[in-house]
């Protein structure tokens, strides 16, 4: 009897990850985590309309227990890394799967958002890096000096620079596109699709995408209009 040599592909999680379906399941779960974060972050941001004290207290509260803060950040970082890693591997696979392209191919059934996930994703990554450097690390200081404890000041000073606001608004529109497809597609990737419930999920994804983008965009727009200063 032949002995079976166990290679990397014979370990169950490795085999799951190696398949396109497994990668999409990982992307669905990590995407869901990031989706929940995006909702929570937006709700936190909206406290800017309740004044500087409220927002700065909230910022202080988030930083109050470093262990919890870093535990949450670790989950988010791992999610981002896995989400991107899977998508890059799938993108490489996609380019290999059709070596000779069509002279012309029409899209007849898919949404614009679903076809542009490979564009909205990388641009959002660039935005997140900029955003962290701007408002978390304070390395980039477009609108004046970064004050670590004064979130309100940093936000208002940053968004008074027009290109910071424009880049933010543009990125949030792309986030809406990403969520519009991702928020229902993740159910499909983990195996849930029902003729009655999936249309509701699609509508829900669109509604949440618009609400989330509107919530985020309201902050720079208010700063630019002078409502928040």
């Amino acid at each position: 009897m032949a002995t079976t040599v166990l290679g990397a592909r014979d370990v169950r999680p490795a085999r799951f990850w190696a398949s396109t379906n497994g990668k999409k399941a990982v992307m669905a779960v990590t995407g869901a985590i990031l989706f929940l974060f995006v909702i929570g972050h937006m709700l936190g941001n909206l406290q800017i309309f309740e004044g500087p004290e409220k927002l700065n207290d909230y910022g202080h509260f988030l930083h109050s227990v470093p262990e919890i803060l870093w535990a949450v950040r670790s989950v988010l970082i791992v999610s981002v890394v896995l989400h991107i890693w899977a998508s890059v591997q799938l993108a490489v696979r996609k380019t290999k799967a059709r070596p000779v392209g069509y002279s012309h191919r029409d899209n007849i059934a898919s949404s614009y958002a679903s076809r542009t996930m490979y564009w909205s994703g990388p641009i959002l990554l660039a935005f997140v890096i900029y955003h962290l450097l701007h408002l978390t690390a304070g390395v980039i200081q477009p609108g004046g000096e970064f004050v670590p404890a004064d979130v309100y000041h940093n936000v208002v000073a940053g968004f008074q620079v027009w290109y910071v606001s424009a880049w933010y608004v543009f990125s949030m529109v792309l986030l809406a596109f990403h969520i519009r497809h991702g928020a229902w597609s993740m159910f499909q990737s983990v195996g849930f699709n029902h003729p009655r419930h999936t249309p509701i999920l699609k509508k829900g994804a669109l509604a949440l995408a618009i609400l989330i983008a509107a919530g985020y965009i309201s902050v720079p727009v208010s700063v630019m209009l002078g409502v928040v200063k």
Partner: protein, 274 residues
Amino acid sequence: MRLKLKIWRQQSRSAAGKFVSYPMDDANPDMSMLECLDVLNERLIEAGEDPVAFEHDCREGICGSCGFMINGVAHGPLPATTVCQLTLRHFKEGQELVLEPWRARAFPLIKDLVVDRRSFDRIISSGGYVSVSTGSAPDGNAILVSKESADRAMDAAACIGCGACVAACPNASAALFTGAKIAHLGILPQGKPERDVRALRMVAQMNAEGFGGCTNIGECTGVCPKEIPLEVIAAMNRDYIRGSWRERDNLVTTIRPFTEWSTGSKLKVDRATE
């Protein structure tokens, strides 16, 4: 009616291909797309030229042999219709039709509009079956199947394996095909015992063939001549995740994808190794 056909001509896999234009001045609007090619081929044969190679069999939309891109849409503009059932009256007088073969690494070109779809056969043979004891026919209604299950299984079983889903997918993914084959057996009680291992094996073979990954965009369903719902892809994902979680033995093997023809083949196709 007059039509202008712009057809992809490629002698063999290794030869360079190009589009060649053929004016059709005597096309009958009641002809099917394939009959139009038949008329063109008769003309080409009479002129001593090489006829356009295309695959066909039943010509009544149920065998899954035919299929190519017409103006960038698999099986042409009419929904739920194969090219053999697509009549020319759906086109405009004088319209130019660009005919192009399915393009995917897992569907290597054989000649002109014909591609090698044996990758689908290998996916089926890796797990698209139900193991039963042979012998006398089972009693009718011995295994009860609910109306809903029967309908869902039948919807998935309508897949004719034409390959339009792969052709239309920007990722060249075979998820709709594999999903249909997994779902139509997995929904029925006869297919339940092998549900986990079927999904594991068929997914493993699908990935070994070099198809792209599914991004749930739905182009496949849009061109499918049998309108297989996207639901079957979720069924595949569900069974695959379930099977991966419950798997006890390493039972998954894949068939090495091969694109060559046996040396005894009479087919005048490219036998050179890639």
